[in-house]
Symmetry: C2
Subunit: 422 residues, 2 copies
């Protein structure tokens, strides 16, 4: 790190190196960036033992510190998961480079040509929890989109991340790009995260990924612009006309396919005129998969194998095999319930009624609104974006699954031949 | 205002009314929104005397409070300016409604159709200074884009804004939309502005317009996502090959056409090999228009009718008939200077060299980068956007002149026929 006569904030040399690397990345051709990504994939495949050894130290410390089995599972890397990571990096190679894409443009009446083109943000900060796969995904997405990235991973994954960042930096350098394109500030601890959130002028955008409390802390404390990725209190509404088999399959898939992720179903709403026809079979299928039903009074009349829902259940993001179920009087009542309790992530209606489908799509204000599909489809991979930065639940800049274009800004290119303003 | 058993923050009823109005606006057809805008234009034309009377009270108070002549000019409304405002509102009627525009979409391999469509933000907050025209422009842009707006104008324009908001609300109501689509929180004073910045969940985006200190205060204090509109330390670089007449015209127009606005030129850079050929004529034209030249040593050798530039001049946004001038050794030196001192608003190169033009466009990271045109063209009206929300100098969401699309978010519409995730 450079020496200075002035006292500098501890992160300053790291952030200056990131800014400098971002200039090289911004003008790097796609083929050079792709070469760096290829080298990262090769390094992952060539260092499986080293990565696993570091990861084992994190897992042992995590077990000592009482991490839950769910968190330990997210933290764990094995040969298969490392191979999946390498393949994701290679998939990003195959995606179109967003930098330079012309978003719109026109000729002005005076002959000036204007075009709005995608450019990298510059320096992207990411604060996340103990998921070392995020380290690789974000590094690859950032490089492809021409951004330098400053990573603050969870301390629980510190050994894994140190090894991964070392491999990534060597791979980037081998392609002729600055190693400082990807840096970790884990050695600076919590103070580093705090400083990162204050680093206006150094960091162009900050992306928190993790628990609701982590995201909330970043959103409220950061002076750098934040893209909020988010919690999902996700709803499915079974309309009066819902097809019974679709209802059964969509509710089951939305809840059970992967309960611990943000696009998993949390609250099921059913039209009162369809409750008797649909609920017993829909809920029996869930019960057979080990789901606990938290039902309102009308649900429990129809399906006694359930526990009483409390007010807290309507805003719960269970992330487990639990579901809240409520019988509502109308589509309007369903939309009102969603407005009140949704986090704006994903909601789906199961219906055979065209008017109700359109009303649901128009009036429910969430990042993804669906008709007759599983909520599990709100996902960058499923949407065809390759990897995913996260799923934005805010309305500024990006909403829903974020891929490469969401890691870019734009600038206006204006070409004239001596024009001045009259 | 609704009564509550609980103590509520003073702004809560206003913000709840805005949220409620935003739901009606989000689904209002274009023809209804356009009818409201037509009624606003008619109300402005029909109430010229009333508006001018209120504005005179503000002007008198401003004179008593020692406002500068520049600020008093921005505050003043007369019949001609009110007619210009009415015409701007009617121009917004003629623009395409951004709500519902499909940004992109595709069919997934399983037959699901996804499309990303523009939707209103919901509730937009605007904090601005004593320019009553902003009240009308923002109200019209917000309604057209389906957003409710909560306005905090400067206390210096309080009488003008109260009359304008009253007229606007009556006009909106006459078109069948909620009057609370446009509200002012001026009666809540500074505390209202502070509360507005904390109103996460009520306000979707906050736009500060005004002085650098106002913008900085909002950016650093707001917990609501902010779009920064900004200061402009704008540069023109005269390259070695610059056409002399273009150089003279572009520099003069960029500096003198309207010195008090953010796209006006502040610092002129000249290649050392062109300085002797270009500077005397370029600067003489400025001097003839009353511009004070703040030159570096090499500039003053070539053009003695100038004062010495200090370090502060390179970061000055004069907003007056002053200009900083520096001779640089190369294009690289020009780009380095711009990187160091620019606020990222607008920079223009005057050159006849294709390679240098492309390097400047690629390597200068500002909202607008130009070749051979006046910097005064960075403007929503000039770009064909109709009116303008402001000029964003941040990289998130919007960059450069902001029109109607920049007042929208998007959501993903997902249509299936029973698909679930495998």
């Amino acid at each position: 790190m450079p020496q200075s006569q002035q006292p500098v904030a501890p992160l300053t040399p790291t952030l200056e190196a990131a800014r400098s690397a971002s200039l090289a990345l911004a003008s790097a051709p796609s083929e050079v960036k792709n070469r760096a990504l290829g080298a990262i994939a090769a390094a992952l495949r060539g260092s499986v033992d080293e990565i696993i050894a570091a990861n084992r130290r994190d897992l042992a410390a995590g077990a000592d510190n009482g991490l839950t089995s769910g968190l330990l599972d997210r933290l764990a890397l094995d040969a298969a998961r490392i191979e999946t990571l390498a393949q994701a990096v290679l998939q990003i190679v195959s995606l179109t480079d967003p930098v330079g894409e012309v978003v719109r443009g026109s000729s002005l009446p005076n002959g000036i040509k204007i075009s709005q083109v995608r450019v990298p943000f510059g320096v992207v900060g990411v604060i996340y929890e103990a998921r070392p796969n995020v380290t690789v995904d974000l590094a690859a997405l950032a490089i492809k989109s021409g951004n330098a990235v400053v990573l603050r991973g969870g301390s629980a994954a510190e050994n894994s991340n140190r090894v991964l960042v070392g491999l990534i930096q060597a791979a980037i350098a081998s392609a002729g790009l600055p190693a400082e394109s990807v840096q970790t500030i884990d050695p600076f601890g919590r103070a580093g995260a705090t400083e990162l959130m204050q680093a206006r002028g150094y960091v162009d955008v900050l992306i928190p990924r993790g628990s609701a409390s982590l995201i909330n802390a970043v959103v409220t404390q950061s002076k750098v612009p934040v893209i909020e990725t988010g919690a999902g209190v996700v709803h499915v509404f079974l309309d009066e006309s819902a097809d019974a088999q679709w209802a059964i399959d969509i509710v089951h898939n939305s809840k059970v396919h992967r309960p611990s992720v943000c696009n998993a179903l949390e609250t099921l709403l059913v039209h009162k005129n369809a409750a008797e026809r649909l609920l017993p079979d829909v809920l029996a299928r869930l019960t057979a998969s080990g789901v606990t039903i938290h039902g309102d009074a009308r649900t429990r009349e129809l399906y006694p194998d359930s526990v009483p829902a409390t007010e807290d259940d309507w805003s719960a993001e269970y992330m487990s095999l639990d579901i809240a179920v409520k019988v509502v009087d109308s589509l309007d009542a369903a939309i009102d319930h969603i407005r009140r309790y949704s986090t704006g992530h994903t909601e789906s209606i199961v219906t055979n009624d065209v008017v109700n489908a359109e009303r649901f799509l128009n009036e429910v204000d969430s990042a993804a609104v669906m008709v007759n599909t599983s909520t599990r489809f709100t996902d960058g991979g499923e949407f065809g974006f390759g990897a995913e930065v996260g799923i934005s639940t805010q309305k500024l800049h990006a909403r829903g699954p974020m891929g490469l274009p969401e890691l870019t800004s734009t600038k206006w290119i204006v070409r004239g031949t001596g024009q001045v303003r009259a």
